[in-house]
């Protein structure tokens, strides 16, 4: 293998890994804090990308870029909050909440997907990439959009980690996860924390959705694959570990890139699942998941 090929594989792994980290972080945050899986997480990516596309389309070239992104992020934060109010809040606290939320969020996923198909139609759409310049390194062309993707993944993770470690509300998020009763006794309102975490996870999904839409065509099926990838990533990384999810995202990206190069595109999922099964046989708690 030449240096150029190695670099190309690594680059592809880093781009995918960065996107997977963004997709998984919101899901991991919701699981860690509320103890439920949000199956509508992929639909949040989907919806975010369509909202961004619409804002850009309606506003014309002048509104493209920063403003479209800001409008989309605000809209998705509100939507995440509404999703929490309708699919999670009525169920949380019940003995079967974990299972009930699976059903309610799957319903939300189906509804969102169909509403998107109805509202925007089945034809593929394209969200413009961020910038049009590119650089060439070791014979591989890297677009400005790809550079943004590579940088934003780690930056978001650092931001979340710093928030959970240093912000007052970040500490409260962890307190609810670690000991809900004690959290109540220091005056934390868990309902507020849950709503906040859901809104934040929607924003993270929106960022991932927007950046993914600059790479892939946008169709109503857009959210399915990211949801699956996000699940794989947080199971592989360890369910309660944000750092684990981060590492696992790049591991998954690398496995895919290697499998695609050596065996071909269609072998990538096979290799990926084989590796995950082996890892989970050896470490059932995931790469960095510790005992609670």
């Amino acid at each position: 293998m030449t240096l150029e090929t190695a670099f190309a594989i690594l680059l592809s792994a880093t781009i995918s890994g960065s996107l997977y980290a963004m997709m998984a972080s919101g899901l991991s945050l919701v699981w860690g804090t509320l103890g439920v899986f949000n199956f509508a997480h992929g639909s949040l990516l989907l919806l975010a990308a369509y909202v961004a596309w619409t804002v850009g389309k309606v506003g014309g070239p002048a509104v493209q870029g920063p403003l479209a992104i800001a409008v989309m992020l605000a809209a998705m934060a509100v939507f995440g909050f509404l999703l929490y109010l309708t699919t999670v809040r009525p169920l949380i606290g019940r003995s079967n909440a974990e299972l009930a939320v699976i059903i309610s969020t799957i319903s939300a996923m189906i509804i969102i997907r169909n509403v998107v198909q109805f509202a925007w139609g089945p034809l593929p759409k394209q969200v413009p990439a961020l910038g049009s310049s590119s650089i060439t390194v070791f014979g591989t062309v890297i677009s400005s959009h790809q550079i943004v993707v590579i940088l934003i993944g780690p930056l978001l993770l650092l931001g979340i980690a710093a928030f959970l470690k240093f912000a007052r509300v970040g500490l409260a998020v962890r307190s609810v996860e670690q000991n809900p009763d004690a959290a109540l006794l220091v005056g934390v309102n868990p309902q507020f924390i849950y709503a906040l975490v859901f809104a934040a996870s929607a924003v993270l999904a929106a960022i991932a959705g927007y950046l993914l839409a600059g790479i892939q065509f946008l169709t109503p099926d857009f959210g399915g694959d990211p949801l699956l990838k996000a699940f794989i990533v947080i199971v592989l990384g360890g369910l309660n570990s944000l750092l684990g999810a981060f590492v696992a995202a790049y591991v998954v990206g690398l496995i895919e890139a290697l499998a695609i190069f050596f065996l071909g595109l269609f072998w990538a999922p096979v290799i990926l699942f084989v590796v995950i099964i082996v890892v989970l046989l050896v470490r059932p708690q995931g790469l960095l998941g510790g005992a609670r």
């Binding site: 007052r168 409260a172 670690q178 000991n179 959290a183 006794l185 220091v186 005056g187």
Partner: protein, 230 residues
């Protein structure tokens, strides 16, 4: 299950609550702090009826509950735990002062401030839990078995600290099974038995050892009576 439990704690007073396991001591504290909602009865704090208030409102009023044998937030450092203790708007402005006060009271916590709570010894965890309570700027502090499972020496350290807290003017309601500890720290004691307050000890009154033994193990007659109730 509580029925007919009635206690009163005066401003600045330290009151103990003792009784056998499973007779409602913890339930009583959890009802007062709003974790449980009573079906009937009322709870008053500083001339206000706080029955049915949320835990957050009760914390904001200055009534702080330090739960039982609790590691608080196990995967957070001592300092993070204490910071969270001052989460309420009431306590936030006094965070720095209270932190100094906690570290003065428990120098060991200062040494271990960057360690996570799950790595602390049992005694240090209790210190941390007490510290979290103090960070909440309490008018009244409710402690649930703060010396449970601790060695005599550590018990003594905590008893001294709790006495110091009480002397500083914080009203205290303390649950423990160790009657001698309560007699040492508190001015008055209640006995909670079968969900009822069945005995009140005034200051200076001493409980006979036979009475205590009877309570925990039951005389022949008493245990017969319990069976009938069941």
């Amino acid at each position: 299950m509580l029925r007919g439990a009635s206690i009163a704690v005066g401003d600045g007073e330290s009151v103990g609550l003792f009784g056998p396991n499973g007779h409602g001591k913890t339930t009583l504290l959890r009802s007062i702090s709003g974790l449980l909602r009573p079906w009937a009865g009322s709870i008053r704090f500083q001339d206000r009826d706080i029955t049915g208030w949320s835990p957050r409102q009760i914390v904001e009023a200055g009534l702080i509950h330090v739960p039982q044998a609790n590691t608080m937030f196990p995967r957070m450092t001592v300092l993070e735990n204490l910071t969270l203790g001052a989460y309420s708007p009431r306590a936030r402005p006094h965070r720095r002062r209270n932190l100094e006060r906690v570290f003065d009271l428990f120098p060991r916590l200062a040494d271990r401030r960057t360690q996570t709570c799950q790595t602390l010894s049992g005694g240090e965890r209790q210190m941390a839990a007490l510290g979290v309570g103090l960070m909440g700027e309490p008018t009244m502090l409710m402690l649930d078995e703060p010396t449970l499972g601790l060695a005599p020496l550590m018990k003594e350290v905590l008893a001294r600290a709790i006495t110091e807290i009480a002397t500083s003017g914080v009203t205290l309601l303390m649950v423990d099974q160790d009657i001698n500890l309560l007699l040492e720290v508190c001015q008055r004691e209640y006995l909670l038995e079968g969900g009822e307050t069945s005995l009140e000890l005034q200051e200076g009154e001493r409980i006979r050892e036979e009475q205590v033994l009877e309570m925990y193990f039951g005389s022949a007659e008493a245990s017969g009576g319990t069976m009938d109730d069941a």
